[in-house]
Symmetry: C3
Subunit: 676 residues, 3 copies
Amino acid sequence: MQNKLLYGAEYYIEYMPYDRLSEDIRLMKEAGINCIRVGESTWSSMEPQEGVFDFSELRRVLDACSEAGISVIAATPTYAIPGWLAQKYPDILAETSSGRLLYGKRQTMDITNADYLFYAERIIRKLMEHTAGHPAVIGYQLDNETGYYDAAGEHIQQLFTVHLRQEFHGDLNRLNQALGLSYWSNRIDSWENIPDLRGAVNESLRAEFDAFRRAEVTRFLAMQAKIVREYLREDQFITHNLSLFWNGDTYGFNPDVDEREIGKIVDVCGIDIYHPAQDDLTGMEIAFGGDLARSVKRKNYLVLETQAQGFPGWLPYDGQLRLQAFSHFASGADMVEYWPWHSIHNGPETFWKGVLGHDLKVNDTYRTVKQIGQELSMLSGHLHHLKKKNRTAFVICSRSRKGLDYFPMNISAGEDKSIGYNDVLKKIYRQLYFLNVECDFVWPDSESLEEYDLLIVPALYVAEDIFTKRLSDYVRKGGHLLGTFKTAFADKYLKVYHDGHPHGLRDCFGMSYSNFTLSRGAALLGNGTAVKKEGRRVTGFMELLEPADAQVLASYDHPAWKKYAAVTENVYGSGTAWYLGCDCEDGVIRDLLIYILSACGLYKEGQEEFPVIVRRGKNMLDKEIRYFLNFSGKEQRVHPDWQDGLELLSQTRSGKGTDLLLPPWGVKIIETDGNS
Amino acid sequence: MQNKLLYGAEYYIEYMPYDRLSEDIRLMKEAGINCIRVGESTWSSMEPQEGVFDFSELRRVLDACSEAGISVIAATPTYAIPGWLAQKYPDILAETSSGRLLYGKRQTMDITNADYLFYAERIIRKLMEHTAGHPAVIGYQLDNETGYYDAAGEHIQQLFTVHLRQEFHGDLNRLNQALGLSYWSNRIDSWENIPDLRGAVNESLRAEFDAFRRAEVTRFLAMQAKIVREYLREDQFITHNLSLFWNGDTYGFNPDVDEREIGKIVDVCGIDIYHPAQDDLTGMEIAFGGDLARSVKRKNYLVLETQAQGFPGWLPYDGQLRLQAFSHFASGADMVEYWPWHSIHNGPETFWKGVLGHDLKVNDTYRTVKQIGQELSMLSGHLHHLKKKNRTAFVICSRSRKGLDYFPMNISAGEDKSIGYNDVLKKIYRQLYFLNVECDFVWPDSESLEEYDLLIVPALYVAEDIFTKRLSDYVRKGGHLLGTFKTAFADKYLKVYHDGHPHGLRDCFGMSYSNFTLSRGAALLGNGTAVKKEGRRVTGFMELLEPADAQVLASYDHPAWKKYAAVTENVYGSGTAWYLGCDCEDGVIRDLLIYILSACGLYKEGQEEFPVIVRRGKNMLDKEIRYFLNFSGKEQRVHPDWQDGLELLSQTRSGKGTDLLLPPWGVKIIETDGNS
Amino acid sequence: MQNKLLYGAEYYIEYMPYDRLSEDIRLMKEAGINCIRVGESTWSSMEPQEGVFDFSELRRVLDACSEAGISVIAATPTYAIPGWLAQKYPDILAETSSGRLLYGKRQTMDITNADYLFYAERIIRKLMEHTAGHPAVIGYQLDNETGYYDAAGEHIQQLFTVHLRQEFHGDLNRLNQALGLSYWSNRIDSWENIPDLRGAVNESLRAEFDAFRRAEVTRFLAMQAKIVREYLREDQFITHNLSLFWNGDTYGFNPDVDEREIGKIVDVCGIDIYHPAQDDLTGMEIAFGGDLARSVKRKNYLVLETQAQGFPGWLPYDGQLRLQAFSHFASGADMVEYWPWHSIHNGPETFWKGVLGHDLKVNDTYRTVKQIGQELSMLSGHLHHLKKKNRTAFVICSRSRKGLDYFPMNISAGEDKSIGYNDVLKKIYRQLYFLNVECDFVWPDSESLEEYDLLIVPALYVAEDIFTKRLSDYVRKGGHLLGTFKTAFADKYLKVYHDGHPHGLRDCFGMSYSNFTLSRGAALLGNGTAVKKEGRRVTGFMELLEPADAQVLASYDHPAWKKYAAVTENVYGSGTAWYLGCDCEDGVIRDLLIYILSACGLYKEGQEEFPVIVRRGKNMLDKEIRYFLNFSGKEQRVHPDWQDGLELLSQTRSGKGTDLLLPPWGVKIIETDGNS
């Protein structure tokens, strides 16, 4: 990896209305841009006809960058196929449960199709041949936001059959039992008779198919990595840009990939982060995406894409773009790349604007980029490779994500609305973020699990015995655990456990439940400390907890359910386990978190809160860095309790007793004196 | 039929996570469960591979039941086909207007497909061979909630062509004229040129296709009955579980079956009733479904499925499950079966919970079932085979149901929302139910039509001459009739009558109309008795009635329509006919019903009302039974005006002058002294 | 053309439930109906089997009309094909991006299909042979509301390939560049490899395909015209009924046809106008459709279809039907035809009611028609062929319409809702209509452009250089121009201009912009004259205007955007150009229009306003006609400032100083004394 912060944008020479390469390079250089990304999605420019290759334009970009001292990350162009390829091999286009996809959009292929793989390999090799030796190229991005695109055609189903045989050791009874296929007469009693998955309604079967296809995504990227590594120089790296779940913005985890498995393939984790802006800018999505990317390989990461302007409705207010950039670095990013450099003049992303507007002239956005670029040039040595040592972690899991897609919580409710995995996770994450408690993400089999002071396990619908055992042990030996409703409900195959809930954790939480319902206006009766005595609303799904050893922090204020607990606390061995049994308003989560964090020594009364966001880490000089980020349009005053240091952006001294003034959407960075 | 009330649940040994048959039998026996249902939807367990049959598990259940004295209703498993069958004969899967259905869900087959019928017959015969002789088996259920699943493929279209030729005696001109096919150039002038029905937009043609497919449902069940009867013992019966229209709960009539025709095939009518619960429990759907099932064969019926817990949001409050059970018996049910016994651990119905929760342990629901079971054991002789003699009936009709699906009333309105047949019917039914006036359902060709004091004819869009004549005669000879808007508008083929409306009933109602519009805030100007003078809102569709002999009970309070009547009353011969010309708020219907019922001697001022529901009948001891059902969470006090009797549940005396106290969601049953 | 006003209805003898031709003719004659339309959509009656023709019924109608002195417009029946044709040539049914259309609906064919064209030509020739010589027939309508029905099958794609080769002179690079096909790897580098258009996501390619298909519509109608003209008598005319965009009513321009190109084919322009009614009747849609139809050929036009009763919710209030009829004539119509004569008794339009109701008897609607018919007979010489000389025109464009379909303005907004071309256009048109300023429509290449005092250019997304130059020149030489946001943004192929916006008009408007966003509650800070100082809301999309020479009429009241202008005025040469930079509430548009119209001498303070609508023109007697139309349910008093004249309907004198009383939904027509 480079020994400095990288800053830049995606550059599409292919989409430019006229030749302005030298002008763009000049503007970039002037702005302090030191790294661009090229190539993803331009296969038809590299290979306009079958077997006819043209890397001349790309080479022109590399040469110009080289001369200007700008680095380049080149992406394999495999996520958008040329028309001639689709026409010659129609089977490359994925067949989904709604039929064969038509050519036109990106990400429409069956990534297991042999013809696709043949041509993908060839274009990757050609790209590597033409670029791997170029001095400007510092690394490669494999494909782009890879997924499996709901491909469910004959070929991928055949692969899945092979997978099932292996998974169940050729034992059909085991298959039928594990996936509960007797239901609605869906038994499979011959390997030749696996029905077309596209009509499957058995969520156990579908979830296994999903897991298999997530693994295919990993295999596909591993195949690309293998090819790329044949050509890779020692000083070059491999990355991939993970995408989050898209819901108008990047909302929560993407259920279609196994982030950590992909992390094992690449040298450095990359991620794409798009978020609400203007009055809705909170920095939460930046922190969330950053925490994920950092956690995948437990080291610094690259923001391979983020918005410069984005949608018309996201045009940044004065100060916001700079605040966003430093927020990424505050989370541990080593690079921020805007998408794209120039606003594209046609196509579906015409109104997803870049650094430059459609007029390709210097504008406010560019001017801000330039300011940021200059500050980064100056401060790179102080800010890059920021190390974090967080004491709180969320345990997350792909199978749970998918499980709660299939079984949403408030189904048929008259409740606020149905919620899924990401909703529960983000509801808690948001309050933690607002309280300025930094966290990591871990997986049920992460080695580091026991290192944390507090583990938060939100709606971990799927929990295998080995994990619930581990979690119990963690608490027993002194750990702190916050679990929520819907945790440890089903096994790996989405079969609900039949021995009571939460499965494997009843001792640990000191309670159990077998019933759950929806709130219909129920409120909470709190104990007055962890949960307010009155006035807190349950907003949907609620489990009717029956405490054994646990202490009741809140029960339900509803004539039918008043005998049940809603929130519990249980001392278990040397540790403590809290359980939140219902979907409730944000205030409950906030209060409960403060109560728990205080008990864990992770929260101090009066500490800064949103809209002032504080992020910490240790820099390469072994000094402590504190970012103060003002996510509001009003000036904020921060009362310092830290040791003396230097505010890096203004190069002014700062210390105890002197208030820090943050302008609207402003940022300050303190490097404390002395090593930490 | 059995000489006692039957009580139980659907039992799926096939879906159990482990072998616990003896435990389940023990729990059931202890709870007073005396009848379970088995088999529907488990074809792939009975015939895991083509021609390989396995009834061992089912036999184990039968044997265990036999030993425990529990009866069994076995269902033919034909409504969910095994995967191998779909794979061998892809044409079995129905082709609908949205394409061929994919394998996975239940109820996806073309029930006229010859291959399906061959395999269906074979599995039914195997089932009968293995079970008909078993002492535990008291009856058989044919298939399950049978419909035609929108099948519209080539084969069923060919059958339809044959049907059309017969219906129109091979006369194409008659066909074109009757179905109005000249419209949009859709004429058919050769029997070879009947176009693909899947694209048909002519509602007359579509409605005939629907009627034909409803008849195919009947034929399919008749075919099953014929096979089953070959094996049936004299002491065994045949039933089928009709389903109501599903709209989140069981809402109104199912437009895809002819209930009464199916009734002719079975020995006893069965029905599935699911309904809102918790604060939304009114008992209305229980009464509605019960009245239908009882009317189909004019005798007692079986509730083959109803919810124990149902959706998470339906978890019953304390008392509700018991109230529901007795409400079924109060409507004339001879059996109540919960669906299912145990909460299933995977698949689409994972969160449709049974008597037992996922933990398969004794829970509150089971404890309530046990209480009910014990009460039923004690009272069966007093409660079973309850006979009713209602004096009010609704006239209903499949073709009208479908007609108003095709021509919804408030189309393109800014009105409350578009309404159909079931909406109009249930709006009136609900008020009648709230007023504690029990009723039957009859069909235009029911023999019993003239037996009733009051016939209610809601939105009977399709009315043939023979029926309107009969209705007129009924009124003329002293009957009472309440008709609503959209009654007698079109002929059998949905062709609007061209001689004015309501067709064939203008003399009877003493008015006519040729215009109709939507309310746009119009109110009613009532006569002050049947309809309040002011303040009543028209909520959508409104006919502009022009009275001839009729008296105006309400007219429209709108500058443009004030000259038209909205509600009329007409003395016709020795009877009276009322007509409600517009969709209006519930209060209008309530007041009008009280006015009409009083005139018919069917209502007494001050009689009990919802939330206290009163149901009556005569038991096998020839004594009068009165159920008092409290559909509220508050205690209710009932002022008795009936003769002395015994409250059966508490075995306490009750009589005139002594108030009856109904606890929240409580029930009391009075058996009056002396024969009625 | 006929020398009188034509008045009538569509007559379907084919759909009549029984033979009542003579009765209908009698009723029509009595009502003053002097022209009916026949034939569209009845191909299967004319040719019930392939090659078997039957015009006997049609001839019966023509003969009866002839005898009664009623004229007939016959329509070619090609827009609804017979079932036998679809069955023999399945490819005739259009293949759209959602698959092959099924037979049943009208307008489902691929109008470029050779088999379809063969049979269409044959039935047209047969129709002409049987009717062209008939004295009753005064003209022919080509097809009916022709479009391209989203046809995108293989054949039309082949034609499109030929078109692309021509359009780009066989130069693939030019194609790729012009349509920006490098984006997402969509380059086409071989004419054999043009991918299936049905999956296309590149809006530039799709817009060109749309334009090509609009041209196919024109070609198809030209082909029909050519055939018809072979038989046409000198005294007969050709017309076609344009349809507007349908959105529950006729809302704005139809993006699927080039109205003006179709206008070149026909002798007289026809149009179908359906509009909201009852309390929602404003006359706006009548004026809008009329202004379009009149502008297409710059002469009088025919209203070939309009509602008599329409939907149930449109049943006219007393007076409305008459008001509507005279509103059409006030806009320059020479004919009004209701659709249909009789309410059809089955099919999808059963509840789209005609002059007669389903009972086919004399009713209120018929009685009103009769009154209108008699007034028209009396006044025809005074009202027909009304000539207008408007001074204001809207510039409209098909490519812009489509462009803003693809790129709606408030995308991903939390704004009022996303708006498109028709929304912007109609928002301004509505205020102009309310202010009683009559206008024409013109196209960018209309010869007459420079004749107008004021040109309004709303959201003209696509603007070619030749047009922006012309517009600039127009202003420079003294013209007045009002442009709005999104004008001159992209070239013909929807490629955004890369030299700044508004392209080619920055000097003319004296401002430019490169950024735009969404309002999020922004308000306007007006100058107090053209725009109120405070309280005016921006309702969505907003451009951030940077004035050069322009004067700021309003800027944005939002902390982030206060430095930008929202509305500008620029004196350019001898003319003035105004620019409205944001979507805003109606009050802004109204005030701005009054300001601009006053500046142009097109508005006088105190002039009549909606709900009194005033329309003017010169009649064939060279006298000025003024219509006063009361679009309200309340009496209106008009203060005349015109010279003395005769109120034609009442035949009473009228003049300066004498108030004109308009009854609710009433109409008065003044013919001023002396020639104008």
